[in-house]
């Protein structure tokens, strides 16, 4: 099934065309869904697992996220961002929701060690691109202040609310909120400068 659905010979300029794939989704083209999956599934699973710490639940989240994009491709506005970031946003929201809803889920604590990106076989190009994107995000994160980076990591990668972040760090609520807000604004500027937020088709 994989080889049958996979684009066999992408044209130059189309290889990194996320926007084109989203248009394909809107047209009900399963090959576009398969191509988006090949591009982002591993990164999406990495994020879902990082938050919920449960492989089965993480896979369910990834499945729900891709199907959500498949069923409502109009929910994504190509003029307002990149499909990859949009998909990761769906995954994050569902993962956080699962963590907060399911008391049986045991989140991993203090585990910020980044997993090695998969980059083997015929997915090497997709994996390399995602890896480059990841490296740029990590580079941008490294330029934040320590407290900003810590607040973002606790909130985003551990799925904590800002009040939980404040409690964890023993700081006032307003301080936690300010660190997250300032960190996000700074991160946006840094990513914009590195053009990493540009779409896959840039």
């Amino acid at each position: 099934m994989r080889s049958r659905l996979r684009r066999s010979a992408p044209e130059a300029g189309d290889l990194f065309d996320d926007a084109g794939l989203v248009r394909g989704l809107a047209a009900g083209d399963q090959q576009s869904l398969a191509a988006l999956y090949d591009r982002y599934a591993n990164a999406a699973l990495g994020l879902a697992f990082k938050i919920c710490g449960n492989r089965t639940i993480a896979e369910d989240i990834v499945q729900e996220a891709f199907l959500a994009l498949w069923q409502r491709p109009d929910s994504f506005d190509v003029k307002r961002g990149s499909p990859g970031a949009f998909l990761m946003g769906i995954v994050h929201h569902k993962a956080v929701d699962a963590v907060r809803r399911e008391s049986s889920v045991h989140r991993r604590e203090e585990n910020f060690a980044m997993d090695t990106p998969d980059s083997s076989g015929d997915e090497v190009l997709e994996a390399a691109w995602v890896s480059i994107r990841r490296q740029k995000v990590l580079a941008a994160l490294s330029q934040l202040s320590g407290v900003q980076r810590q607040a973002l990591e606790l909130a985003y990668l551990q799925g904590l609310t800002y009040s939980e972040v404040a409690s964890r760090l023993d700081i006032p609520l307003g301080t936690a909120k300010t660190r997250m807000r300032d960190g996000m604004i700074r991160l946006r500027t840094l990513l914009s400068q590195s053009e990493v937020t540009a779409s896959y088709d840039s």
Binding site: M1, R2, L5, G28, Q30, L33, A34, Y37, A41, N42, A43, L45, L47, F49, I51, E59, V62, Q63, F66, L67, W70, Q71, D74, D77, R80, G81, S82, G84, A85, F86, M88, G89, V91, H92, V96, M114, D115, T116, D118, A127, V130, S131, R134, V137, L138, L141, L152, A155, Y156, L157, T161, Y162, K177, M180, R181, M184, L187, L191, V196, T197
Partner: protein
């Protein structure tokens, strides 16, 4: 919370890190605030990128098959009409169609002694009011048929009970009008048109469609970054929206 307070929560919301009460209030605000919606889109892009920092994990082969198999059993939902600006050459066809509807709405409103307009002017005398309605409708028809008017599709939201609408904006006249068709009778509720400026909704008019049609004038300019939105309100005269937005159009 004030607009600025809600705006300050957007980066935290993009991180899915708000508490449920604040999130509910912000979500309600986002339905009527174009400015905050745009800012949130930027923060969500940043937050989504942050997701790549988590690293990758090898997805099992059967996950791909499960997703594609499930996708094969479902059909993507048709996209809702985006709030696009329609300019020439499509203006003529829209203008013709909607001018016809507007004329029909005017006729219904005249027969019903201006029942479509429940909060215009404020004059006490019924005859004066009817004359004002007629004058306004004439102005609105001119506005709708003017080749200089900008036409915006009113995009339905998930709360839409059906129906469609167009906003006609004349910069030259400093006025606008909204024509809606196919709206069901709101029963004990009422429809309200809002002009949203910098995130602050201002009531334009409450209206009840006649035979599904209504024509609502906007006395004043609709400038870039402003949004026109229709809500279903539980009562007339609300100064801030209490019901859901059913359709909206934003001027880019």
């Amino acid at each position: 919370m004030t607009h600025d307070e809600l705006k300050s929560l957007l980066p935290v919301f993009a991180l899915d890190a708000l508490g449920s009460e604040e999130e509910q209030e912000l979500v309600a605000h986002l339905k009527v605030c174009l400015e905050c919606s745009k800012i949130l889109a930027e923060h969500r892009e940043t937050a989504g990128m942050l997701g790549f920092a988590a690293g990758s994990r090898q997805a099992p082969g059967d996950l791909r098959d499960r997703i594609l198999s499930q996708a094969g059993k479902t059909v993507p939902l048709q996209a809702a009409a985006p709030p696009v600006q329609l300019r020439s050459p499509s203006r003529r066809s829209w203008g013709g169609h909607w001018a016809g509807l507007a004329a029909a709405a005017c006729l219904v409103a005249l027969v019903g002694v201006g029942l479509s307009f429940l909060r215009i002017g404020g004059q006490a005398d019924r005859l004066d009011r009817q004359e004002q309605v007629i004058a306004q409708q004439r102005e609105v028809l001119n506005l709708i048929t003017s080749p200089d008017s900008l036409v915006l599709a009113m995009a339905p939201t998930e709360a839409s009970p059906g129906g469609e609408g167009r906003a006609f904006i004349s910069d030259r006249e400093g006025a606008a009008a909204v024509v809606v068709s196919g709206l069901r009778d709101p029963g004990d509720d009422v429809y309200t048109l809002w002009l949203i400026v910098e995130g602050e909704p201002q009531p334009v008019a409450d209206f009840v469609p006649q035979d599904g049609l209504a024509l609502v004038p906007v006395d004043g300019a609709v400038e870039p970054e402003m949004t026109l939105a229709v809500t279903v309100e539980p009562n007339r005269g609300n100064t801030s929206p209490r019901g859901p937005v059913i359709m909206a159009a934003s001027r880019a």
